[in-house]
């Protein structure tokens, strides 16, 4: 079990095995592919926003390392009900808290893939 390991604790492995919000939306406001060029982690993230700019639904499909997939699963749980501005204001420590572990410099891009993709997706909406 994950007991030997700080990083691969059960919560992370559980999100990796059975990611939350996995799938696709029927009418997303925005879809964006996020990639980690070095490791090949990839997610396709979809968001649905209402007229007030509040996230009403989220879904993603992805493949990659446990940290990237668990990080995305955890962050997607947090997005519903938040405004675009609130999501843009989220930073790395927020994700670290969700993961429950401080991720080292070699894996930080994996951990932040979900958040950064969500932020880029929202930024692309507002620039339209």
């Amino acid at each position: 079990m994950g007991g030997m390991d700080d990083l691969y604790r059960e919560q992370i492995l559980e999100h990796h095995r059975r990611p939350h919000n996995q799938g696709t939306l029927t009418a997303p406001s925005v879809s964006l592919e996020g990639r980690n060029p070095n490791c090949g982690d990839v997610i396709n993230l979809q968001l649905q926003l209402d007229e007030a700019g509040i996230i009403t639904d989220v879904a993603f499909m992805g493949r990659g390392c446990a940290i990237s997939q668990a990080g995305t699963s955890l962050i997607t749980d947090e997005l519903r009900g938040k405004s675009a501005a609130e999501i843009l204001a989220l930073t790395s420590p927020f994700v670290m808290e969700l993961l429950g572990v401080e991720v080292g410099p070699t894996r930080i891009h994996c951990a932040l893939l979900g958040l950064e993709t969500a932020q880029k997706a929202i930024a692309s909406l507002s620039s339209k």
Binding site: M4, Y8, G40, A66
Partner: protein, 418 residues
């Protein structure tokens, strides 16, 4: 045999390790099991000693000064070039010393390509190429309106399908650019046959030798290559170093792509004449210390014996391939199963454990492997892999290193199977 061998003449990696000070350190407080030599080799003591000696006793700007010390620097640099040339069995006046193998491959693509490629001409590469032997050809074929075509790989094993060459040669390529040893598949390219097929239709052959020159005997004239690029740091030299061998007539016909000091015959305000030979491609002050380092690395590799290095590495690779399925049952090994066709590296993927997670867990046991695309993203896309894990070996790789690898693999499996 020398100080590095067993009584039966085989290489003794434990004796070899004594020459590599890094193994006396404990990165992160753990003994180091370095299985990433295909990315960069560890540095021998004598390489660094040779650099110190050169810089402390013969340091001046080569090819310039009129004083004794400057001549010593020039002699040191040119002697190093000659030593490296001997290692590869080529004449020193055909060996261009550059900053990296990447620079060498870019030089061929940009200089030879610019002068020789026309609209509709074909450059042929494999789907498995390292980005350094792919992107320069993408760029120059786009610029010259030429076509880039591919020798395919098997979708499952990744093996390069050399039997397609006959058909592909009907495209009458102008250049065939391939790795001597694939940095992911570990496969040794049948260069002689490829060169014969290429030359028969008038194509030249560029070989990326990065994963071959430190791992097996390489005599460039026997490969049939017209251009051969290699990297110093994968041989135990310094980081910034590499070279390009090219046939003298091809070198003479090529225009330099970098211009400046040390490559000119005479300069006027509005134009300049360039020197002949290799120096034309070495604008600016050369990295003489890097050349001296690489020459020392060549000495050491020859003392180990390149047949012996190859045999030792084959033994290590054979064990990895044999034991991997038991340690990680869903491991998909990339590249040929026939050990005769392999050198130096073995890459694999697992649905259970992503390569990055594996590398992270192995790191806790001091086992250093490579995870990701290994600068060969198109190959991984072809195999529908989001990454692979790569183990690469060297003269200093021991069974203890592999023991640690397999203990770590089993641990990782336990974590992920839950």
């Amino acid at each position: 045999m020398g100080a590095w061998h067993n009584a039966d003449g085989t290489l003794d990696p434990v004796k070899v390790r004594a020459e590599y000070p890094i193994f006396k350190t404990q990165p992160g407080g753990r003994p180091l099991h370095y299985l990433d030599s295909a990315a960069t080799a560890q540095r021998p003591q004598r390489v660094v000693d040779a650099v110190s000696k050169f810089l402390f006793t013969a340091n001046a700007n080569p090819h310039r000064g009129a004083y004794t010390l400057a001549q010593m620097a020039t002699d040191g640099y040119e002697a190093a070039r000659a030593r490296i040339a001997t290692y590869l069995n080529v004449p020193a006046n055909e060996l261009v010393m550059l900053g990296s193998a990447t620079e060498a491959l870019n030089l061929v693509a940009r200089s030879w390509g610019k002068a020789n490629l026309r609209r509709g001409d074909v450059v042929l590469v494999t789907e498995a190429e390292h980005h350094a032997n792919l992107i320069p050809w993408q760029q120059i074929t786009r610029e010259m309106d030429a076509d880039l075509e591919f020798i395919p790989v098997d979708d499952v094993t990744g093996e390069i399908l050399w039997d397609r060459l006959d058909t592909l040669m009907k495209l009458k390529p102008k250049m065939v650019a391939i790795a001597h040893v694939s940095n992911v598949l570990g496969s040794i390219a049948p260069l002689k046959e490829i060169a014969a097929a290429a030359h028969a239709v008038g194509a030249l052959v560029t070989v990326d030798g990065c994963q071959a020159v430190a791992n097996m005997p390489v005599s460039i004239p026997d490969t049939g290559a017209d251009f051969y690029a290699f990297s110093a740091h994968k041989m135990g030299g310094l980081y910034a170093g590499g070279g390009l061998w090219a046939r003298a007539d091809l070198l003479d016909a090529m225009a330099p792509i970098e211009h400046g000091g040390d490559m000119i015959h005479s300069v006027r305000l509005r134009d300049a004449d360039f020197t002949t030979g290799t120096q034309r491609f070495e604008a600016g002050t050369p990295d003489a210390s890097g050349a001296v380092a690489l020459a020392a690395a060549c000495d050491l590799l020859d003392e180990f014996g390149r047949e012996q290095i190859h045999a030792h590495e084959a033994l290590m690779i054979e064990r990895v391939i044999r034991e991997l399925p038991e340690a990680l049952p869903d491991a998909r090994i990339l590249g040929p199963r026939d050990l005769q066709k392999r050198a130096g590296v073995v890459a694999f993927s697992s649905e259970l454990i992503h390569a990055h997670d594996l590398a992270e867990i192995l790191d806790r046991r001091g086992v250093a492997i490579r995870a990701g695309f290994h600068c060969a993203q198109p190959l991984h896309e072809q195999l529908e892999l989001s990454s692979s894990a790569r183990v690469s070996v060297a003269p200093y790789t021991t069974h203890e290193d592999l023991d640690a690898l397999f203990v770590g693999l089993r641990e990782a499996r336990k974590v992920f199977e839950g």
